[in-house]
């Protein structure tokens, strides 16, 4: 039987109001009103052609006329939102938590570019906490001392792993794990329970996604051990069992997600069913920040939800234009509300 190490997951009881964020919280509340509703997302999914897609998007923030323009618009929107939450953040740990994902993304891009000698300037996100020029110099020239503590180690580990395995995915695996470790370290130092709980839930749900994928690919236990995230609440030993045994032995507040998606996994053979349910569950956790009157958690939740909106729009538009069946697109669109 798999049980949680700790009985948390009740974010409302862990919110501690922080009056310094009165301005920021109210600002974000206005922006939350501008997020696309589920109804608009459904209309986009049901759109008959490209013209209808862009007509639905007209009048809102995504009013453009082509896929290329929409891609550019989404990128601008994301950079704008990250800049805004960075400005609204009053503490360095919070800024780090908000932006470290993009720093790690840049490291992945730069490391891959280093090994394949490609120019990736356009793919970099200049909105992390670290200066893109500085990290580019550090990675390409191997001057790791220029990087803050933690990041240099992460890049070195990724390089070592890639050189050992000669697999490009090794860079992603190592840097994703390092992202989770760094997020855990910063959120523990920051001391806000919400961020630690988010990370724990993120690690658990990601580990289950990995578990399904690894089973689908028929990879061995050593590989699974290498790719599972630390800092989740589930005991890692549980992941070394067969899928059915894992699902029946899981007793957490999200175990129903695994059981619900088990049939899907059996028939379809992919983890897509669980992935969407897990993402929606994570968004429900983030949405619990609606109970906060003042607090930095609201900034983080808004950034995550906005990022998902941008990702969903791009997935729907590219899927529809490329003739992907609606049901298949829908499976990849977690609806936060």
């Amino acid at each position: 039987m798999i049980r949680l190490k700790s009985t948390i997951r009740n974010p409302q009881s862990t919110f501690v109001e922080d009056k310094r964020y009165a301005y920021a919280t109210a600002y974000i509340r206005v922006l939350e009103n501008k997020l696309l509703s589920d109804q608009i997302m459904s209309q986009l999914l049901e759109a008959e052609d490209e013209e209808s897609l862009f007509r639905i998007l007209q009048g809102g923030e995504y009013g453009v006329g082509s896929v290329e323009a929409l891609e550019e618009k989404c990128r601008e929107e994301l950079i704008g939102v990250i800049s805004l939450v960075k400005q609204l953040s009053l503490e360095m740990p919070l800024t780090q938590l908000l932006t470290m994902k993009y720093d790690f993304y840049n490291f992945k891009v730069l490391l891959k570019a280093k090994y394949f000698s490609k120019d990736v300037e356009l793919h970099l996100f200049d909105c992390g906490n670290l200066d893109v020029k500085e990290i580019k110099y550090a990675v390409t020239e191997g001057k790791m001392r220029a990087l803050p503590e933690g990041f240099a180690d992460a890049v070195r580990k990724a390089e070592t792993e890639f050189e050992k395995t000669e697999e490009l995915s090794a860079i992603d695996v190592v840097l994703d794990r390092e992202f989770v470790n760094t997020f855990y370290r910063v959120s523990s130092e920051y001391g806000k329970r919400f961020f630690i709980e988010y990370l724990e839930l993120f690690a658990d749900l990601s580990n289950i996604k990995i578990f399904f994928r690894v089973h689908n690919q028929g990879k061995d236990r050593n590989f699974l051990e290498r790719v599972l995230f630390d800092h989740g609440s589930l005991d890692k030993k549980a992941f070394f069992k067969p899928v059915e045994e894992f699902a029946s032995g899981l007793h957490t507040d999200f175990s129903h997600l695994v059981r619900e998606s088990l049939d899907y996994w059996k028939t379809d053979g992919t983890s897509a069913g669980f992935e969407r349910l897990a993402d929606e569950y994570l968004f429900q956790f983030l949405k619990s920040t609606k109970h906060i009157v003042f607090g930095p958690e609201v900034l983080f939740a808004y950034l995550m939800i906005k990022e998902n909106e941008l990702k969903s729009i791009r997935t729907i538009v590219s899927g529809k234009i490329n003739g992907v069946p609606v049901d298949m697109i829908r499976e990849r669109i977690p609806l936060p509300s």
Partner: protein, 157 residues
Amino acid sequence: MGELAIAILGACLAVTLAGIGSAIGVGLAGQASAGVMSEDPEKFGRLLILVGLPGTQGIYGFVAGFLTLMRLGLIGAGDKVVLTFPQAWQVFFACIPVALAGLVSAIHQGKVCAAGVEMTAKQPADSGKAMVMGIFVELYAVLGFVITFLLLFSIQF
């Protein structure tokens, strides 16, 4: 002279404690309101009352302080009252209800109004409901002021 100082201290506490509470409350609601108006300036009208509501405790404290000084004959046309030691303490304690009720209720009203500002940002049609919630907190400041008023005018000099 010591007796007069005790009575004046009561008046000072009424003004300053209720004023501090109001400053904190208005500050909180004001910050939240500024956050909303940065993105949606048209909501100014709906938010104005919510920001101003926690300011009333400061006014009650000021009025209570003014009435105390009047009763003591320090302002106005009447003669200055010569207080006994018990009378001085009576004036002091008469000022306490509005001072403490004002301090605590203004801070909490500020929080309620800031939450109301956020609610108005999401659902503008519900700004009236947000105001009603704030007014419930106001009631306790009013009760404190009424008791201070009754006590001040029941003291026999």
